[in-house]
Assembly symmetry: C2
């Protein structure tokens, strides 16, 4: 065994959220340059019945903080999902990162064996901690980061794969 549950969760989430913050910064700059309405970008979506950019940010925040809460047992902050501006979305990301970075690696001891039961009404999966992280938490988190990127790309914001991958 060569990776810890902490290593495959907290730093991965923090990195993804920093990428998301950078993407939002580029989206805001694009809106300003074009003299367009921020709301149009913040509420942009890829399909009528799909979540808009703001909700992709909120769900990326939730997926990361709730995953870490479930695995570490350290309560995560609650947010009201009322962000309507770039500044508020950036604050949401910053607050999520602050929580994630506050978690001690020791809190993840034995988290791979912890039972994690989710309840989405008709969908109530139960996982061992390691399966939860690898088959649910990580794919779910990346879904929202990539979809945020894809919404911006679809709206003409000059971002791309290198922005998504982040600095190396």
């Amino acid at each position: 065994m060569s990776l810890s549950m902490y290593q495959v969760s907290v730093p991965v989430f923090v990195r993804g959220l920093k990428v998301l913050s950078d993407l939002l910064g580029k989206a805001e700059a694009y809106v300003e340059q074009h003299g367009s309405v921020p709301d149009a970008m913040i509420s942009a979506r890829l399909a009528d019945d799909m979540m808009p950019l703001s909700a992709q940010v909120q769900r990326a925040s939730d997926t990361s903080k709730l995953s870490v809460e479930r695995l570490s047992g350290v309560p995560a902050p609650k947010f009201e999902d009322n962000e309507t501006s770039f500044d508020q979305l950036q604050q949401r990301i910053a607050d999520t990162i602050a929580y994630l970075e506050s978690i001690d690696e020791d809190a993840f001891a034995d988290s791979e064996a912890r039972t994690i039961a989710l309840n989405f009404g008709s969908f109530q999966p139960e996982f061992k901690g390691d399966d939860y992280l690898l088959t649910f938490a990580l794919p779910n988190f990346f879904f929202h980061i990539v979809t945020a990127h894809d919404i911006l790309r679809n709206r003409g914001v000059p971002v791309g794969k290198r922005d998504y991958l982040g600095p190396f």
Copy 2:
């Protein structure tokens, strides 16, 4: 340490590729039901200068097989990127899964410490194996699975988050 490099790569990639296969199956069924042209779906994209659906499948295949080749040392099959039909894209996915499932977990011994140097011309990052997997290979892989989903969603194919997350 509670996770192996194998566990965080091969089964994650195989699961994602099976999801991608299921998404393509739903896209093909949608095209047939609507009597539309498969090519229009296969070449659909979210932005004029972004890769189409077919290339998202090819890159998901490449990212997974090349990552595993670099980490395990087991040569991956080469593909010609000439798929133009749903059947051919499904075959590409199946061939990629066959390679991934052929790799013995022992081949990943010490892969976390292996040096992985990439060369994309102006972009030549070098990684330790664990950083490569967590900061490059996994985010890159999910990028293409999610973007394939997002293209289908943008074109009206009835798929959603549950399809993307896969069976539990």
